[in-house]
Amino acid sequence: MSDLVIDTHSLRKEFGPKVAVADLTLDVRAGEVFGFLGPNGAGKTTSIKMLLSLTKPTAGRATLLGRPLGDLAARAKIGYLPEHFRFHEWLRADEFLNLHGELYGMDRAARGAAVPRLLKLVGLEDRAATKLGAFSKGMLQRIGLAQALLNDPALVFLDEPTSGLDPIGRRVVRDIITDLRQRGMAVFLNSHFLSEVEKTCDRVAFIRGGRVLQTSSLKEFEEEAMQVVVRVGQPTPELLTGLAQFGRNVALEPGDGRVRLTMSDEAQLPALAHWVVQNGHNLYELTPTHLSLEDRFLQVVGEESDE
């Protein structure tokens, strides 16, 4: 028994000549929030659909919660918010949640407790009796999220859960995800809002052209490369060559006398400061900044795009 909630090996999906997912190999651990990032058409939705048996993989194998794809016992512990979040519009919000609760096999008492709780969680408690046909896009997405959490899932797939939400709604979703993680549930998150991913995810995978380019934990990112800005009174050529021993890409900003460099080890910072002062420079500023996830995304995914 491993603690992997998702474990895939070379999953592949072809639609005729079109390869939507070329090789999906990744694992997601129990209790982890996993961000699945990539440009439009990268194969994110197709990957989720394969994992949920909405579409059949052309090749490869995978397990969810330790069970083969399509296993009903595993599905009972999985929640899913589809990318298109279209639901039966002639149902009222509470009827809709009740229906999906029934499909999860929840008894009347369990549904009676879960439905009002989830309506409140997604901020729709006043709309219980409204037909879904009268819901706005963001409200539909909220009720869809409530639907995905009905069964207290061990693993939730959220395909762009905030694409239609206002800033408050996005905040709500972020809090929900954080809460899910605290309760030990795993979340598989597709999103284009990288600042949100940055705040909620433990690990991310970058995918393009149906291939996983890189999987890393956000912690690793933080410990990895950082940008350092050094500002001294009078930058000299000797300063620039001297700084090169601490990092790469040393460059003098035109105009304000700031020097930028990329360092990989934070522990080097005091030594750098010491060296600058020892060599007779007046140190006004020394600022380490980490690459944002967006920078990282553009770096990993963007550079070789449009092939």
């Binding site: 579409t55 599905r75 499909l103 096999g105």
Partner: protein
Amino acid sequence: MAAILIIARLTIREAQRRRLLWVALFMGLAFLLVFGIAFHYIRLDIERQVTAGDDITFVSLLLLTAGLYAVNLLTNVVAVLVSVTTLSGEIESHTIDAIVTKPIPRWQVVMGKWLGFAGLVLAYLALLVGGLMLIVYLRSGFLMDNIGRGVAMMALAALLVLTVSIAGGTRLSTIANGVMTFMLFGLAFMGGLVEQVGALIRNTAAVNVGIVSSLIMPADSLWKKATVYFQPSDVSNPFELGPFAAITEPSSLMVAYAVVYLLVLLALALRSFSRRDL
């Protein structure tokens, strides 16, 4: 198995919410009203002209059969119309995605929908047939023998058409499915006519065309079988019943064939939906 019932109930609730049930009910009552008025006045006329009891009964039989013919057509068309969008529409709109990812086998979704629509269609058939019989009985005291068996044939035909439309919906777009189902229905109808004419003028080729078409789609043969039950056994020349009569009686084998046809098609529909990409 619980999922089948959940989906069946959902199907009926959708028909209710979309006002399908009420429109169908209202139009059904309008149909019965028109039939009742027509029956009343024709009866009045006949009673003035004809005195022989047998002949008066025959007129009741003829009119009731004509009414049943219309009901058969109506229920078949309604069966197609209510079910033709159900699977393809939900696949196209992606409402099905959140349903089939629940811990239920996919075939149960199809089975539940079939069951829900079958209930609706059969209830509709029962309402219209019951209404016709009641009107005829109240006005003339005439009760058709064997009507149960005949209506069973009509019910089988309606379920057959329903199954075709559900099965088509697992793979075809709504519009393609509608065209296919109605064309099949039309083909069977035309084949039935050709067979009648062929039997009348003793043209074997025409009869064979009819037989082949009823193998492709047995709904029309079932109606013919029903009319055989509706005709009293002592009618000497079945052609007296006009276009509603069966000149050639479909064999019991044809009924068995229709049942097998339905079951196989339903099984194919369950399988086809279970295997497709959504």
